[in-house]
Protein backbone atom coordinates (compact mmCIF):
# COMPACT_ATOMS: atom_id res chain seq x y z
CA UNK A 1 0.00 0.00 0.00
CA UNK A 2 2.86 2.38 0.73
CA UNK A 3 4.71 1.58 -2.51
CA UNK A 4 3.01 4.31 -4.52
CA UNK A 5 3.73 6.97 -1.92
CA UNK A 6 7.45 6.23 -1.72
CA UNK A 7 7.42 6.38 2.07
CA UNK A 8 8.35 3.82 4.70
CA UNK A 9 6.10 3.05 7.63
CA UNK A 10 8.38 4.98 10.01
CA UNK A 11 8.31 8.04 7.74
CA UNK A 12 4.56 7.91 7.57
CA UNK A 13 4.25 7.68 11.33
CA UNK A 14 6.46 10.73 11.72
CA UNK A 15 4.67 12.75 9.03
CA UNK A 16 1.26 11.76 10.31
CA UNK A 17 -0.33 11.49 6.89
CA UNK A 18 0.14 11.63 3.18
CA UNK A 19 -1.95 12.92 0.33
CA UNK A 20 -1.23 12.59 -3.34
CA UNK A 21 -0.57 15.96 -4.99
CA UNK A 22 -3.34 17.35 -7.15
CA UNK A 23 -2.54 17.00 -10.84
CA UNK A 24 -4.46 19.10 -13.29
CA UNK A 25 -5.02 18.34 -16.98
CA UNK A 26 -4.04 14.69 -16.56
CA UNK A 27 -5.74 13.90 -19.87
CA UNK A 28 -3.10 15.84 -21.81
CA UNK A 29 -0.51 13.23 -20.76
CA UNK A 30 -2.45 10.00 -20.20
CA UNK A 31 -5.68 10.55 -22.09
CA UNK A 32 -9.09 9.79 -20.62
CA UNK A 33 -9.87 6.49 -18.93
CA UNK A 34 -11.65 5.01 -21.96
CA UNK A 35 -10.39 2.22 -24.24
CA UNK A 36 -9.54 4.72 -26.97
CA UNK A 37 -8.14 7.30 -24.48
CA UNK A 38 -10.42 9.90 -26.06
CA UNK A 39 -13.75 11.42 -25.17
CA UNK A 40 -16.17 8.80 -26.45
CA UNK A 41 -19.46 10.16 -27.64
CA UNK A 42 -20.31 6.64 -28.80
CA UNK A 43 -19.53 4.40 -25.84
CA UNK A 44 -17.24 1.61 -27.08
CA UNK A 45 -17.62 -0.44 -23.88
CA UNK A 46 -21.36 -0.51 -24.43
CA UNK A 47 -20.84 -1.52 -28.07
CA UNK A 48 -18.53 -4.40 -27.07
CA UNK A 49 -21.21 -5.68 -24.71
CA UNK A 50 -23.72 -5.68 -27.53
CA UNK A 51 -25.71 -2.59 -26.59
CA UNK A 52 -26.46 0.60 -28.42
CA UNK A 53 -23.42 2.85 -27.94
CA UNK A 54 -25.45 6.05 -28.19
CA UNK A 55 -28.12 7.30 -25.79
CA UNK A 56 -31.21 7.00 -27.95
CA UNK A 57 -34.75 7.96 -27.02
CA UNK A 58 -37.03 5.00 -26.36
CA UNK A 59 -40.67 5.38 -25.42
CA UNK A 60 -41.14 4.35 -21.76
CA UNK A 61 -42.73 0.96 -21.05
CA UNK A 62 -45.76 2.68 -19.61
CA UNK A 63 -46.91 5.85 -21.29
CA UNK A 64 -50.00 7.19 -23.05
CA UNK A 65 -48.30 6.37 -26.37
CA UNK A 66 -46.84 2.91 -25.74
CA UNK A 67 -49.77 1.60 -23.67
CA UNK A 68 -52.86 3.58 -24.74
CA UNK A 69 -55.24 1.00 -23.25
CA UNK A 70 -53.69 1.30 -19.81
CA UNK A 71 -53.60 5.09 -20.13
CA UNK A 72 -57.38 5.24 -20.45
CA UNK A 73 -57.67 3.73 -17.01
CA UNK A 74 -54.65 5.52 -15.50
CA UNK A 75 -54.55 8.91 -17.21
CA UNK A 76 -51.85 10.73 -15.25
CA UNK A 77 -48.09 10.38 -15.49
CA UNK A 78 -46.02 10.13 -12.31
CA UNK A 79 -42.65 11.68 -12.00
CA UNK A 80 -40.65 11.49 -8.81
CA UNK A 81 -37.33 12.54 -7.42
CA UNK A 82 -38.05 16.21 -6.86
CA UNK A 83 -35.99 17.33 -3.90
CA UNK A 84 -36.95 19.50 -0.95
CA UNK A 85 -34.34 21.58 0.83
CA UNK A 86 -35.03 20.48 4.39
CA UNK A 87 -34.46 16.74 4.00
CA UNK A 88 -31.56 14.86 2.52
CA UNK A 89 -32.90 11.67 0.97
CA UNK A 90 -34.66 9.90 3.85
CA UNK A 91 -32.77 11.72 6.59
CA UNK A 92 -34.00 14.38 8.96
CA UNK A 93 -37.66 13.48 9.20
CA UNK A 94 -37.48 12.87 12.95
CA UNK A 95 -36.04 16.35 13.64
CA UNK A 96 -39.04 18.34 14.76
CA UNK A 97 -38.04 21.76 13.45
CA UNK A 98 -37.34 20.30 10.02
CA UNK A 99 -40.49 18.20 10.02
CA UNK A 100 -42.40 21.34 10.95
CA UNK A 101 -41.49 22.82 7.57
CA UNK A 102 -42.94 19.91 5.63
CA UNK A 103 -44.96 17.53 7.81
CA UNK A 104 -46.55 15.59 4.95
CA UNK A 105 -45.45 14.46 1.52
CA UNK A 106 -46.89 16.89 -1.03
CA UNK A 107 -48.05 15.76 -4.44
CA UNK A 108 -47.66 18.56 -6.96
CA UNK A 109 -50.61 18.73 -9.31
CA UNK A 110 -51.81 21.32 -11.78
CA UNK A 111 -54.94 23.23 -10.63
CA UNK A 112 -56.73 22.37 -13.89
CA UNK A 113 -56.36 18.64 -13.28
CA UNK A 114 -57.14 19.06 -9.60
CA UNK A 115 -60.39 20.85 -10.40
CA UNK A 116 -61.46 18.04 -12.73
CA UNK A 117 -60.72 15.48 -10.04
CA UNK A 118 -62.33 17.49 -7.24
CA UNK A 119 -59.12 17.96 -5.30
CA UNK A 120 -58.39 21.04 -3.25
CA UNK A 121 -55.22 22.38 -1.72
CA UNK A 122 -54.08 20.25 1.22
CA UNK A 123 -56.51 17.41 0.59
CA UNK A 124 -55.46 13.86 1.29
CA UNK A 125 -55.26 12.06 -2.00
CA UNK A 126 -54.72 8.48 -3.04
CA UNK A 127 -52.43 7.74 -5.96
CA UNK A 128 -53.18 4.43 -7.58
CA UNK A 129 -51.00 2.77 -10.17
CA UNK A 130 -51.54 -0.66 -11.79
CA UNK A 131 -49.48 -2.09 -8.92
CA UNK A 132 -50.50 -0.44 -5.65
CA UNK A 133 -51.74 2.67 -3.89
CA UNK A 134 -50.06 5.38 -1.86
CA UNK A 135 -51.16 8.47 0.02
CA UNK A 136 -50.04 12.09 -0.10
CA UNK A 137 -51.38 15.58 0.30
CA UNK A 138 -52.25 17.70 -2.70
CA UNK A 139 -50.17 20.76 -3.49
CA UNK A 140 -51.66 22.79 -6.31
CA UNK A 141 -49.15 24.55 -8.52
CA UNK A 142 -49.18 25.84 -12.06
CA UNK A 143 -45.51 24.93 -12.32
CA UNK A 144 -46.38 21.42 -13.49
CA UNK A 145 -47.93 20.06 -16.68
CA UNK A 146 -51.65 19.19 -16.38
CA UNK A 147 -51.03 15.52 -17.27
CA UNK A 148 -48.19 15.02 -14.79
CA UNK A 149 -48.09 14.64 -11.01
CA UNK A 150 -44.90 14.95 -9.02
CA UNK A 151 -44.52 12.72 -6.00
CA UNK A 152 -41.93 13.17 -3.27
CA UNK A 153 -39.61 10.29 -2.61
CA UNK A 154 -38.16 8.80 0.58
CA UNK A 155 -41.26 8.83 2.77
CA UNK A 156 -42.13 5.84 4.94
CA UNK A 157 -45.16 3.59 5.18
CA UNK A 158 -48.16 4.23 2.97
CA UNK A 159 -46.54 7.44 1.78
CA UNK A 160 -43.70 5.55 0.14
CA UNK A 161 -43.51 6.29 -3.56
CA UNK A 162 -41.84 2.93 -4.25
CA UNK A 163 -45.20 1.27 -3.70
CA UNK A 164 -46.62 2.65 -6.92
CA UNK A 165 -43.40 2.40 -8.90
CA UNK A 166 -42.46 -0.55 -11.06
CA UNK A 167 -39.49 -2.55 -9.77
CA UNK A 168 -39.55 -5.39 -12.29
CA UNK A 169 -38.69 -3.76 -15.58
CA UNK A 170 -35.14 -2.52 -15.08
CA UNK A 171 -32.55 -1.02 -17.39
CA UNK A 172 -30.97 -4.03 -19.13
CA UNK A 173 -27.34 -3.10 -18.61
CA UNK A 174 -27.09 -1.32 -15.25
CA UNK A 175 -30.27 -2.62 -13.63
CA UNK A 176 -31.66 0.66 -12.37
CA UNK A 177 -35.41 0.78 -11.84
CA UNK A 178 -37.78 3.19 -13.49
CA UNK A 179 -38.43 6.13 -11.23
CA UNK A 180 -40.18 8.37 -13.72
CA UNK A 181 -42.92 8.06 -16.28
CA UNK A 182 -45.30 5.54 -14.79
CA UNK A 183 -49.05 5.79 -15.15
CA UNK A 184 -51.41 6.45 -12.29
CA UNK A 185 -54.78 7.82 -11.36
CA UNK A 186 -55.45 10.19 -8.50
CA UNK A 187 -58.58 10.61 -6.43
CA UNK A 188 -59.40 12.29 -3.11
CA UNK A 189 -58.99 10.00 -0.14
CA UNK A 190 -62.29 8.64 1.24
CA UNK A 191 -61.38 10.09 4.60
CA UNK A 192 -59.47 13.29 5.39
CA UNK A 193 -56.87 13.31 8.12
CA UNK A 194 -55.74 16.10 10.46
CA UNK A 195 -59.24 17.55 10.81
CA UNK A 196 -59.22 19.21 7.41
CA UNK A 197 -62.80 19.90 6.47
CA UNK A 198 -63.85 19.11 2.94
CA UNK A 199 -66.05 21.66 1.27
CA UNK A 200 -69.09 20.23 -0.42
Amino acid sequence: MLEKTGLTWEDLKQKGGFSFPDVYKKYEKDGFSTPSKKVELANSKMRNLGFDPLPRYREPDESPISTPELAKEYPLIITTGGRVPMYRHSEGRNISILRDLMPHPLMSINPITAKELGIEEGDDVVIESPRARMEAKAYLTIGIHPRVVQLPSHWPGMQNVNLVMDNERCAPLIGSTQLRCQLCRVYPAPYQRCGVKRKK
Partner: protein
Amino acid sequence: MNLMDKKMLIILDCCIGCHACEIACRQEHDLVYETYSKWCRVMTIKPRQVQNELHLDFFPTMCLHCDDPLCIRCCPVEAIIKREDRIVVVDNEKCNGCGLCVYACPHGAMFFNEVTKVAGKCNMCLERLEYGIEPSCVQHCIGGALRYVTQEDLEETTKGKHITSTGKICYASSKWRLVR
Protein backbone atom coordinates in the same frame (compact mmCIF):
# COMPACT_ATOMS: atom_id res chain seq x y z
CA MET B 1 -17.45 49.66 12.92
CA ASN B 2 -19.89 48.80 15.62
CA LEU B 3 -22.08 45.84 14.76
CA MET B 4 -25.02 47.48 16.51
CA ASP B 5 -25.19 50.32 13.98
CA LYS B 6 -25.42 48.04 10.96
CA LYS B 7 -28.69 47.25 9.21
CA MET B 8 -30.23 44.03 8.01
CA LEU B 9 -30.54 43.95 4.23
CA ILE B 10 -32.84 41.34 2.68
CA ILE B 11 -32.38 40.95 -1.06
CA LEU B 12 -35.39 39.01 -2.32
CA ASP B 13 -33.73 38.19 -5.68
CA CYS B 14 -31.13 36.07 -3.88
CA CYS B 15 -33.47 34.03 -1.69
CA ILE B 16 -33.60 30.43 -2.90
CA GLY B 17 -36.13 29.19 -0.33
CA CYS B 18 -33.82 26.81 1.51
CA HIS B 19 -35.25 27.71 4.95
CA ALA B 20 -31.73 27.76 6.40
CA CYS B 21 -32.37 31.08 8.18
CA GLU B 22 -35.48 29.62 9.78
CA ILE B 23 -33.63 26.59 11.11
CA ALA B 24 -30.65 28.70 12.18
CA CYS B 25 -32.97 31.03 14.11
CA ARG B 26 -34.78 28.20 15.84
CA GLN B 27 -31.52 26.56 16.82
CA GLU B 28 -29.99 29.78 18.05
CA HIS B 29 -32.93 30.70 20.28
CA ASP B 30 -33.98 27.17 21.34
CA LEU B 31 -37.34 27.48 19.57
CA VAL B 32 -38.22 23.82 19.67
CA TYR B 33 -41.46 22.61 18.16
CA GLU B 34 -43.31 22.80 21.49
CA THR B 35 -42.75 26.56 21.75
CA TYR B 36 -44.85 27.22 18.62
CA SER B 37 -42.56 30.14 17.82
CA LYS B 38 -41.02 30.90 14.46
CA TRP B 39 -39.26 34.18 14.73
CA CYS B 40 -37.87 33.96 11.23
CA ARG B 41 -39.95 32.37 8.51
CA VAL B 42 -39.60 31.99 4.78
CA MET B 43 -42.86 32.50 2.95
CA THR B 44 -43.23 30.84 -0.41
CA ILE B 45 -45.23 32.75 -2.98
CA LYS B 46 -46.45 29.94 -5.20
CA PRO B 47 -45.80 29.79 -8.95
CA ARG B 48 -48.02 32.28 -10.71
CA GLN B 49 -48.27 33.74 -14.15
CA VAL B 50 -47.38 37.39 -14.61
CA GLN B 51 -47.34 38.66 -18.18
CA ASN B 52 -46.82 35.21 -19.71
CA GLU B 53 -43.97 34.38 -17.37
CA LEU B 54 -44.00 32.00 -14.47
CA HIS B 55 -42.74 33.47 -11.25
CA LEU B 56 -41.89 31.77 -7.96
CA ASP B 57 -40.70 33.90 -5.08
CA PHE B 58 -39.53 33.38 -1.56
CA PHE B 59 -39.92 35.96 1.13
CA PRO B 60 -37.97 35.81 4.40
CA THR B 61 -40.06 37.43 7.10
CA MET B 62 -39.01 38.47 10.56
CA CYS B 63 -39.53 41.32 13.02
CA LEU B 64 -39.20 44.60 11.15
CA HIS B 65 -38.12 46.55 14.25
CA CYS B 66 -40.66 49.21 13.28
CA ASP B 67 -39.99 52.89 13.80
CA ASP B 68 -43.13 53.18 15.93
CA PRO B 69 -43.80 49.65 17.17
CA LEU B 70 -47.37 48.80 18.11
CA CYS B 71 -46.15 46.08 20.47
CA ILE B 72 -44.49 48.70 22.66
CA ARG B 73 -47.64 50.81 22.74
CA CYS B 74 -49.87 47.95 23.87
CA CYS B 75 -47.59 46.35 26.44
CA PRO B 76 -49.11 46.97 29.91
CA VAL B 77 -45.91 46.26 31.86
CA GLU B 78 -43.44 48.02 29.55
CA ALA B 79 -41.52 44.86 28.92
CA ILE B 80 -40.81 45.73 25.30
CA ILE B 81 -38.35 48.49 24.65
CA LYS B 82 -36.75 50.08 21.62
CA ARG B 83 -33.06 50.41 22.22
CA GLU B 84 -30.95 53.32 21.05
CA ASP B 85 -29.59 51.20 18.21
CA ARG B 86 -33.22 50.75 17.04
CA ILE B 87 -33.46 47.08 18.01
CA VAL B 88 -36.80 46.24 19.65
CA VAL B 89 -36.34 43.71 22.44
CA VAL B 90 -38.62 41.89 24.87
CA ASP B 91 -37.51 41.79 28.49
CA ASN B 92 -38.23 38.23 29.59
CA GLU B 93 -38.04 39.22 33.27
CA LYS B 94 -40.74 41.90 33.01
CA CYS B 95 -43.06 40.12 30.56
CA ASN B 96 -46.14 38.76 32.31
CA GLY B 97 -47.30 36.69 29.36
CA CYS B 98 -50.56 38.53 28.67
CA GLY B 99 -50.10 38.02 24.93
CA LEU B 100 -51.47 41.42 23.86
CA CYS B 101 -48.45 42.14 21.70
CA VAL B 102 -49.02 38.96 19.72
CA TYR B 103 -52.35 40.38 18.56
CA ALA B 104 -51.02 43.92 18.17
CA CYS B 105 -48.22 43.13 15.77
CA PRO B 106 -49.45 43.80 12.21
CA HIS B 107 -46.69 41.66 10.70
CA GLY B 108 -47.20 38.52 12.78
CA ALA B 109 -43.66 38.74 14.08
CA MET B 110 -44.47 38.37 17.78
CA PHE B 111 -44.95 34.87 19.17
CA PHE B 112 -46.09 33.54 22.50
CA ASN B 113 -43.57 30.97 23.68
CA GLU B 114 -45.60 28.06 25.04
CA VAL B 115 -42.64 26.67 26.99
CA THR B 116 -41.34 29.75 28.81
CA LYS B 117 -44.81 31.42 28.78
CA VAL B 118 -43.48 34.81 27.69
CA ALA B 119 -43.67 36.69 24.41
CA GLY B 120 -40.70 36.43 22.12
CA LYS B 121 -39.57 37.78 18.80
CA CYS B 122 -36.51 38.43 16.69
CA ASN B 123 -33.99 40.39 18.72
CA MET B 124 -31.36 40.47 15.97
CA CYS B 125 -29.42 37.85 17.95
CA LEU B 126 -28.44 40.45 20.54
CA GLU B 127 -26.09 38.07 22.38
CA ARG B 128 -24.27 37.37 19.16
CA LEU B 129 -23.98 41.08 18.29
CA GLU B 130 -22.60 41.82 21.75
CA TYR B 131 -20.14 38.99 21.26
CA GLY B 132 -19.10 40.51 17.93
CA ILE B 133 -20.63 38.21 15.34
CA GLU B 134 -23.49 38.80 12.94
CA PRO B 135 -26.98 37.31 13.45
CA SER B 136 -27.43 33.59 12.99
CA CYS B 137 -29.76 33.85 9.98
CA VAL B 138 -27.24 36.06 8.19
CA GLN B 139 -24.40 33.67 8.90
CA HIS B 140 -26.32 30.66 7.59
CA CYS B 141 -27.93 32.24 4.53
CA ILE B 142 -26.80 30.20 1.54
CA GLY B 143 -27.93 32.48 -1.25
CA GLY B 144 -26.63 35.70 0.30
CA ALA B 145 -30.13 37.12 0.60
CA LEU B 146 -29.76 38.15 4.24
CA ARG B 147 -26.93 40.56 4.84
CA TYR B 148 -25.89 42.62 7.80
CA VAL B 149 -24.32 45.73 6.34
CA THR B 150 -23.46 49.31 7.07
CA GLN B 151 -25.63 52.15 5.80
CA GLU B 152 -23.14 53.01 3.03
CA ASP B 153 -22.93 49.41 1.80
CA LEU B 154 -26.70 49.17 1.89
CA GLU B 155 -27.13 52.22 -0.29
CA GLU B 156 -24.56 50.94 -2.75
CA THR B 157 -26.07 47.43 -2.96
CA THR B 158 -29.65 48.59 -3.35
CA LYS B 159 -28.90 51.12 -6.07
CA GLY B 160 -31.57 50.86 -8.77
CA LYS B 161 -33.66 48.34 -6.82
CA HIS B 162 -37.08 48.70 -5.30
CA ILE B 163 -36.70 49.00 -1.55
CA THR B 164 -38.81 49.37 1.53
CA SER B 165 -37.15 49.88 4.84
CA THR B 166 -37.60 50.56 8.51
CA GLY B 167 -34.95 51.78 10.88
CA LYS B 168 -33.26 48.42 11.14
CA ILE B 169 -34.42 46.26 8.24
CA CYS B 170 -34.42 46.92 4.51
CA TYR B 171 -36.07 44.75 1.85
CA ALA B 172 -34.78 45.07 -1.69
CA SER B 173 -35.94 43.53 -4.93
CA SER B 174 -35.08 44.29 -8.50
CA LYS B 175 -38.17 42.46 -9.79
CA TRP B 176 -41.08 43.59 -7.67
CA ARG B 177 -42.13 46.94 -6.33
CA LEU B 178 -42.42 46.55 -2.57
CA VAL B 179 -45.32 48.06 -0.69
CA ARG B 180 -45.61 48.08 3.04
